[in-house]
Symmetry: C2
């Protein structure tokens, strides 16, 4: 029996993609080898990488002049690659502090050079997205996090930035239409809407590179990665293949616009229940709440925690516990989470309220 997996990442993927991946582990598209065994330099795998890049370009309508990379190390390695590539000796990076990961990105930049925080909601435990700030015109770049996985907030409108805009879209890329031309660097750890853990997707405007004046180690240098088409060393072949399958699935189901509509409807179902249900309340400020990670708590945890856990477990729900820094619950409802599965959670919440 397949569980209803609300994990924040690695997270649920379409079962059709999972089945295709299992097939490719046994025999990768008739090559007589497993996708785990095939050379990254084989023409068969080169085709996979090429299709994965094409799908990213098509699904997000990436303009010319941008490179698409699949690297290793997760978003956390990008926290380092970004200042190494973009931060000049005397300049500074401007960071919007909207959550744990945004803050880690900021700290990593400060280890390399200068970085300033333009606004933060840390004092309110990141329950909202700061609105009252200006992106400084003399910064080397502006860094923001489109969706805060832990706190369940999401930037609904991106600022106009007079300097290159860098965005960590790890937990909401491919979930809504975006105008890539607004951004100069987009990155996303794969393990939510892209595929399994092990790859990080980077979309980068070529012209912003080569200006930091800094020595950049080979494995951190975007220009080396671009020149070698993500193959300066052995890439994470299985993760890239499964990401390709998942993006192909997204395309066949109507692409990002269709996913966005479905995601809005899904999130509304769950937020409506949280508002309606007397036992629960939402964590994030209403206008900033995320369509990907729905954070909520019990009003009386002492009374209901055990029974709610029991009902969830009986219904086949797993990994709905909130991050320790927020507590309560977090339902991560990425592209692959279905309305039917969200309805199961809503039914459980309603049953708990009826038992009261």
């Amino acid at each position: 029996m397949r569980k209803i997996n609300f994990s924040a990442g690695p997270s649920t993927l379409p079962y059709e993609v999972v089945k295709q991946m299992a097939d490719a582990v046994l025999d990768f598209e008739g090559t007589g080898t497993s996708i785990s065994e095939i050379s990254h330099r084989s023409k068969e795998f080169m085709n996979v990488l090429s299709e994965a890049k094409s799908l990213v370009k098509e699904l997000l309508n990436v303009p010319d002049g941008y490179s698409i990379l699949f690297l290793q190390g997760g978003a956390s390695m990008e926290f380092l690659r970004i200042p190494m590539n973009l931060l000049t000796k005397d300049g500074y990076g401007a960071y919007l502090d909207t959550g744990t990961w945004a803050n880690k990105a900021f700290k990593e930049a400060k280890g390399i050079g200068n970085a300033v925080c333009v606004a933060s909601s840390k004092e309110d435990n990141y329950t909202y997205i700061p609105a009252d700030y200006t992106v400084p015109a003399d910064a080397d770049y502006f860094h923001c996090t489109s969706n805060n996985t832990i706190f369940g907030t999401q930037i609904k409108h991106f600022p106009k930035s007079p300097v290159p805009m860098v965005c960590d879209m790890s937990s909401d890329i491919f979930s809504r239409t975006i105008d890539v031309s607004q951004f100069d660097l987009i990155y996303a750890g794969a393990q939510k809407n892209v595929g399994p853990a092990g790859a990080v997707l980077v979309i980068i405007k070529d012209e912003i590179l080569g200006k930091s004046g800094r020595y950049i180690p080979s494995m951190l240098d975007y220009q080396i990665a671009i020149k070698n088409d993500s193959m300066y060393n052995t890439p994470c072949t299985m993760a890239i293949y499964m990401a390709m399958l998942n993006l192909r699935y997204l395309k066949n189901r109507g692409g990002v616009a269709a996913a966005e509509k479905y995601n809005e409807e899904k999130a509304a179902m769950l937020y409506d229940e949280i508002e309606r249900n007397p036992l629960f309340k939402a964590v994030a400020k209403k206008e900033d709440r995320s369509n990907m990670n729905v954070t909520f708590v019990l009003n009386d945890p002492e009374k209901y925690t055990d029974r709610f856990a029991e009902l969830c477990s009986k219904a086949g729900i797993r990994d709905i516990k909130g991050h320790r820094s927020v507590g309560g619950y977090r339902a991560s409802i990425y592209n692959a989470m279905t309305k039917e599965n969200i309805q199961v959670l809503i039914d459980v919440m309603q049953q708990l309220a009826q038992e009261k």
Copy 2:
């Protein structure tokens, strides 16, 4: 039909492990989620990581005082992590230059600080392992590469090192018994004898860390990785799981000593044929030749290349082409390559000679 895959990495894995992995992609050990979807913080995955570490410790007889890590970025990221963690401001790393990868490790260290090359076989296109050198007693560390995948050479006897000895064992770890206590840091990209691409195994003596006096970015800091048990950020879950399955398989088949005996017999079969067969000759110097990557060329490539390719293809052999810097052929015969499959290659070589 399963092909005979001589790829240098990613490379062939035991079919039993491949089948177990395919099962876990569909449903990971009855959890109701795919191994590609399960949270790295779940108790089920924590058990996987724990078993993988225990297997490494047991199979290599790793002494206490060493930490075992599964990181991301491949061996190439270790080329950077090593000087970042071990190289002092005024000190230097001593490097043995035995091949393309050894040389890349050396260059990466020179980007961070001082590094010297103690000996090199570059002028002879790395056909042998230099023997005439001393490890300098004032270096911060000594770096060597146990097996040179591209050139088919292997260090048979490691030097006594008066300073911490660091070894890239990417292409021969788990293929032969080693005395881990001789080394202070061992690392290996997974995609040969460990598992699929996406993870790099690091075995490190704790006491050598924390002495470089250098600022180390979080994702490059071994002490942070150790403190967080390889989970400072999301690890490459699928690769770690498959590595665990593969190490479990190795243990069940008699461990490293049994693999070593089998590997010696396998390599002897193929080298004997290369010596016997009038059409072929070996590339590497006899006493330094690798039991993992067998490099050889046709004496008359113009005459036999096409027919040899045709016979190989008919026999179900793939990815036997040599690296462009050596040419000819490279049969990578890691732990999972069977004698039966090597016999198929030998039969093809003999048929070619008979047709002459």
